[in-house]
Subunit: 851 residues, 2 copies
């Protein structure tokens, strides 16, 4: 009889002198671990590996108390074994140092497809059963643990929000290190272990993220401990970092600024000792760095890191049908397949699982033996229960009074201001109010000043740990603005920062927001899933400011012109995505203030940085933004009857052009009755069943009428407006003007003309849409054609817009009596900014405003 198959009872009767968890075949080798420590750590690792294999394969007989039969095995074998034993190995060693040093630590697992191991560890620590009592720490619970994995109605195959302790799903590879650094910022007591797979290490975002240590303050921020896990293969290929010469790999990591220690091998006892020694050395080095860091004026330390080289599918089947499996790409997913159909394969699976000797690890009731259960850290020190990994926040975000930043509008449509410059003063005070709490950051690719948010530099600097020269502009060791020319790193930092409960803003060029489409996608998925988990705390919203937008790329051209990020976000679920197009500075202030109050959202705000006409006082802006959409009575001349045409606009440049068109029409065709509708919150347009902000049909119809023509000037691709409104009564009468990819480097107005979003084309569209205007309209149309021809001639000759275009302002007019507000919004009536830990439902109610 195979010794490994000997039942527990028989073994106990033999009164083995070793502890039950003993690793009989584990010869002692010297190192930081004593004989019992080595045996225990190995046993714990075996337990995690056993539970991992069980999750991938079994739906019954979890403790192998009876011989494995086909019906114990899941019909569909899903999951990834290859990386899992390595993750389990790292996990148990992190447990050791957390206990030994009482570390406040979270871990980011880049290879999130190794979730069977991470779930196993959360289960071994007890956290899993605390959160999901059905999955108890007994045989029945273990059965549920196995069955639920990658099973209909069960849990996902990756380190998803369902996994306690996770802030990083790891399904899409590349973002672990950026997330880890984001989590470490402003958490000086925290150590973030970041496991980077060698597959992931090939991605661009990961390759760029190594440099993040050049922005991490060694005194005021926490620590990131990168653990590069080389197991040699991806799905089918060797990995670059595992296969390149080790001298080059070392040179690369030293070049990235780290001091690497290599742990390399496949023999468990030696590997345990080597890993323990490497972790001890790394944590000693970190402690030493932090001891000397102080205010960190000394610049960037050479942070330690560990390179763990271990076999892919370690401890799994050595061969299957003559093919090597352990240590090759063949162990990536399910190393031995068809175990239900093929008795030989079933036998391999059984021998494999028995090789961990579950009878030595789990008690009769299926619980972990007490001697092993006391190995991991306890309570909130557990990696699966650290509050940082559940959006823990030590201090609420304090926001200043908007009124202090109001742009004074002296004459509606006759004052010019730079919207983002006004926002900069607001953000400056957000930084000041939260300077002590250190819970607010601004990320962006070297564009904070270019986007005219530079007032923030009155109170903080740009984070920088390399040398600082006199000619540098506002560099500071502990700056709260993070600028690096990698949208991926900016976005990843912010994601890691908000997922650990802090607040921030990512300001970037509109066109290049597409660089992070896929990251934002994954964050949206995270929010969707975590929202369904009552134990997950709300996550401060991901706020993205798109400036230097499509309509004003003066120094650049077509490559910098793309408004499609809005379309991308509009595809995300209504409970997550918000898109705001404030028409002027005061509206931008209101909208940003609102966004900073919210949780669990992806807020996209689009705002220009150039001097532009201002339309609303702050009080008006508050009302307008709260509604999200409304009629601008002061610009309309509809009178009491239904208007002849609705002129709608969304976005700062479209609003300006639309009002210029309305002004032109009111001067040239005064009998035309025009209604102006301005849209701030794009998600008021779709039906309410599509998005919680969607207007009900009667309200929508009261704005856009049930049958009058609607000329709509929109910031982005015009068809988005059609797709948002196609269910509306009057949709057939919508004429949308937007960006149609006629981009170039030209003047601001000519850019509009090329895309037919200018005042003249908009006025023309109105004249053509309204029937029965007769000769007057023909005359007016001729005037429009003449104006366009004059513009074209002038701009190509002089390089400038015509003065009457450039200097146009809304003329003083006696405004009509204001109608009653059509739209009652409550966007601004948001709850307190303190995250309420007492329960998600309550908290979410507290935060949710409009929906």
């Amino acid at each position: 009889m195979d010794a490994s198959r000997e039942p527990r009872k028989a073994r106990e009767e033999r009164r083995d002198p070793e502890p039950a968890y003993g690793s009989h075949d584990l010869a002692f080798v010297p190192g930081p671990l004593g004989p019992d420590g080595l045996r225990r750590i190995d046993a714990y690792w075996r337990a995690a590996n056993y539970l991992s294999v069980g999750q991938i394969y079994l739906m019954a007989n979890p403790l192998l108390r009876e011989p494995l039969r086909p019906e114990h095995v899941k019909p569909r074998l899903l999951g990834h074994w290859g990386t899992t034993p390595g993750l389990n190995f790292i996990y148990v060693h992190l447990n050791r140092v957390i206990r030994q040093r009482d570390l406040d630590m979270i871990a980011v697992w880049g290879p999130g497809h190794g979730a069977p191991g991470l779930v196993a560890n959360a289960y071994l620590e007890g956290t899993y059963s605390e959160i999901y009592p059905d999955v108890a720490r007994d045989a029945e619970g273990m059965g549920r643990l196995f069955r639920q994995f990658s099973f209909p109605g069960g849990i996902p195959s990756h380190a998803s929000p369902e996994l306690p302790g996770s802030i990083h799903e790891g399904g899409e590879l590349g973002y672990s290190l950026a997330h880890a650094f984001g989590a470490a910022l402003d958490n000086p007591g925290l150590t973030v272990a970041c496991v980077i797979g060698d597959g992931e290490a090939e991605t661009g975002p990961l390759a760029a993220s190594w440099h993040a240590s050049k922005f991490l303050h060694p005194g005021a921020d926490g620590t990131v401990l990168p653990i590069l896990h080389l197991n040699g293969w991806k799905i089918a290929n060797p990995t670059i970092l595992a296969r390149m010469p080790e001298t080059e790999l070392r040179s690369l990591l030293v070049g990235y600024g780290y001091a690497p220690t290599f742990v390399d091998g496949n023999e468990p006892a030696r590997m345990h000792q080597a890993m323990a020694a490497a972790l001890d050395a790394a944590l000693d080095a970190i402690a030493e760095i932090r001891r000397h860091a102080g205010r960190g004026d000394g610049g960037r330390p050479h942070w330690p890191m560990i390179v763990l080289r271990s076999p892919k599918g370690w401890t799994g089947p050595k061969t299957v049908e003559g093919n090597p499996v352990e240590g090759t790409w063949r162990s990536h997913q399910v190393p031995v397949a068809a175990t239900r159909e093929n008795p030989a394969h079933l036998a391999i699976l059984q021998a494999w699982m028995r090789s961990y000797r579950p009878e030595d690890l789990f008690a009769e009731d299926g619980s972990l033996l007490p001697a092993l259960a006391e190995l991991p850290p306890q309570g909130p020190r557990r990696l699966s229960a650290n509050p940082h990994a559940n959006a823990h926040t030590s201090a609420p975000l304090r926001l200043p009074d908007l009124r202090d930043f109001a742009v004074s509008v002296q004459g509606r449509g006759r004052t010019r201001a730079e919207a983002t410059r006004a926002l900069g003063t607001y953000l400056r005070d957000v930084l000041t109010l939260n300077a002590k709490a250190r819970n607010f950051r601004i990320m962006g690719p070297d564009e904070t000043a270019s986007n005219r948010l530079d007032a923030v530099f009155e109170v903080t600097g740009r984070a920088w740990q390399e040398a600082i020269f006199p000619s540098d502009d506002h560099l500071a060791r502990d700056g709260r603005v993070m600028e690096v020319l990698s949208e991926h790193l900016c976005e990843g930092w912010l994601e890691g920062y908000v997922l650990t409960g802090r607040h921030g803003l990512f300001a970037t060029y509109e066109a290049f927001a597409h660089v992070v489409d896929s990251m934002v996608n994954q964050h949206a998925k995270w929010l969707k899933s975590s929202r369904d988990l009552p134990w997950r705390r709300p996550v401060p919203s991901l706020n993205i400011l798109l400036s230097s937008h499509v309509w004003r790329q003066d120094h650049n051209g077509f490559s910098h012109q793309d408004p499609g990020f809005i379309d991308f976000v509009a595809n995300k679920r209504g409970d997550t995505a918000r898109i705001y197009l404030p028409p002027d500075a005061n509206c931008l202030l209101c909208v940003t203030d609102h966004c900073l109050h919210t949780y669990d959202r992806i807020n996209v705000v689009v705002a220009g940085k150039q001097p532009a006409l201002q339309w609303l006082s702050l009080d008006e802006a508050v009302t307008h933004c709260a509604a999200g959409i409304d009629i601008w009575d002061w610009a309309s001349n509809e009178g009491e009857a239904e208007p002849d045409v609705v002129m709608a606009c969304a976005g700062d440049v479209p609003t300006q052009e639309m009002l210029a068109a309305v002004d032109w029409l009111r001067r040239h065709v005064p009998e035309l009755r025009v209604r102006v509708v301005n849209v701030v919150d794009l998600m008021t347009l779709p039906a309410p069943e599509t998005h919680p902000h969607g207007l009900d049909d009667p309200t929508f119809d009261s704005l856009f009428t049930r049958g009058r023509p609607v000329v709509f000037a929109y910031h982005g691709y015009p068809w988005l407006i059609h797709r948002l409104t196609y269910k509306r009564t009057n949709h057939g009468n919508f004429h949308v003007h937007g960006f149609i990819e006629e981009g170039t480097t030209t003047t601001p107005f000519d850019m509009c003309v090329l895309n037919r979003l200018d005042r003249y084309h908009l006025a023309q569209a109105a004249l053509r849409a309204v029937p029965g205007l007769g000769a007057r309209a023909e005359h007016a149309e001729q005037a429009l054609r003449d104006a366009l021809a004059a513009h074209r001639e002038h701009v190509r000759r002089t390089g400038e817009d015509l003065p009457e275009v450039r200097d146009w302002a809304w003329p003083e007019r006696r405004a009509p009596e204001d109608h009653d507000r059509r739209i009652e919004g409550d966007i601004m009536q948001c709850g307190p900014t303190e995250a309420d830990a007492s329960g998600r439902a309550e908290a979410v109610d507290g935060w949710t405003m409009v929906s």
Copy 2:
């Protein structure tokens, strides 16, 4: 009088013993360049710098023959000076080595915003005037050259398609090195100089691209010579690579696998000699590597590279208003602004331009002095005229006969096949037919086998220059499949490959195509602009195969489920974007074959890899794909009258579910008259003015009726169908079922059920949409609810789909008489595959099929 202001005439009269182009203040320092060589190279550099400044600033008085007045200066000063003198410096030195060694070289300029310098060089070489005769090599032409830059109706501010010799716009940073390696593949005689800005070097895609040398065959591929240009600053920040300790930078580059030479300084004479020496050494090293490369079995060489450290805004104003400008971030764009308004600034500009001594460089008529004009290489050796940079192809792509790969359909809807596996056999033969020409490659992130295209490994391997072990799977030094876990690098390789006239396919997981949204965006912009230039040759299409799609992510979950890349591409212009959703293997073959014939497109093909029912024989598939959309009479029972309901489908899984729904309806509600419409080419749906493939309204109405309900099963987000069809007569009756982000890890059918794209929900939608079905429909609806409940219970208990679902097949039925084909398509009637160099218009006509 300032010597530099001394007019040319006076200088000539002084009979200066030095040649006219002489650099009086350039003291000789020893090095590879002799005294005259040094003077000439410096003079040429000054000429390029002069022309660069002129483009940014002037609209008149190009040769400064009269004192500079405000009206000579452009009213809007746009462009980027900072990087430009460094690019000019590199350019003139590349010219030297091209001449000296008769190199076949192209250059990729990462900092494409330095276009003033690149345009200047193309002008100095004469190419510019050959292509744009208006911009002649005289004073008038120089005036036009200056005026057109970043001016309405002129040329863009970046290295756009308008620039001869460019394959890389450089507006969005990060892709230069990937493009360079893509261009070098299979061009053993070609050297690609790749200038990488230190800003760009911070991006993820660039950071990952360094590893591309691990895939480049030193014998069969060309050479990439990276030139990392460190000028220290981005817009406002220092750059990481310039500011990190030089020992670490060297370590990083060595770690990436290169042998770097540093050229560092600001004194022109010394810098010229150092750069010439560095280039000589690098090219000697390259020649040595290539001499020993042979078939390259020796693995990867340590390729040389150059690190050029030069001041930002080199030779520009030292200070402006007391602020240092040269060598700081302040010279990034326009170092001295408001030159029209501020006389002191105007004087700075004039002194700056005069410092290049144009009178020593240009003859009386404004042409470059002959002694300088003979410096650059001639004809096609010019960087601005190398045919590789204009999609030059030495051999046409040969495509096999589709019939050899047809999947035999024994019983319509009763044969199962894996579509991508069939495609693999076709691609295998494409590789074989073009093995000698070496003009076809497959790129993908480690997923070729996972996507079941592994038949290609019968004839080629995966490119790999590191060590190869016995356990590796089809690695080969000269493999034609490029796999790296960086979608950015894969996409960049393919872009570089097709932009230099070769063909390829990028196969990737559907969800992660979003990773390269922004790259595809830029490529689409490139195609749009280049299409308008008669001298630009057509570019083989960018073919993207999305497999492992949203509906079958068995080993993964929600993170791997996203069909939004289609939406992203659908936002691109109709003359560029194509989206195909072949319903089965034979259709996938037809569509791919078509895509490989095309030029100037972005073709997106979505196809599953799992065993699935097959619907059409190859001949039927050819007809169906040529039409792009059609009624499937054999599945319909509409008879002669108009059908009660149209059941439309697009995508392989939706088609299968829709036909199962139709089968169910025909069995349970036989009196319901059903029409089945299948859509392969998504762009048949919008109106023809939106997309050239769009059906005209009568044809659309003949398929979808003018008033009957349409139930539409669609692969992606349902609202895309609405946005494509909102102008159609019958749009109000469309009920679209698609992916609504109810993703998870579950069974294939349950995934459909969660998103209501399954047969039961589709049948239910038909019953609800057709009025007056009465009791029979109620009864049928109850049966559907029962079926769904049974499914739910079964799948959650067993983890498998119900056998009747899993094993469903289309029953044998007597098919109705085929109607006449409604849609006459010509997708397959494509022209020859040889690029016709005789003229773009002709070539484009030859290639264009459907549009």
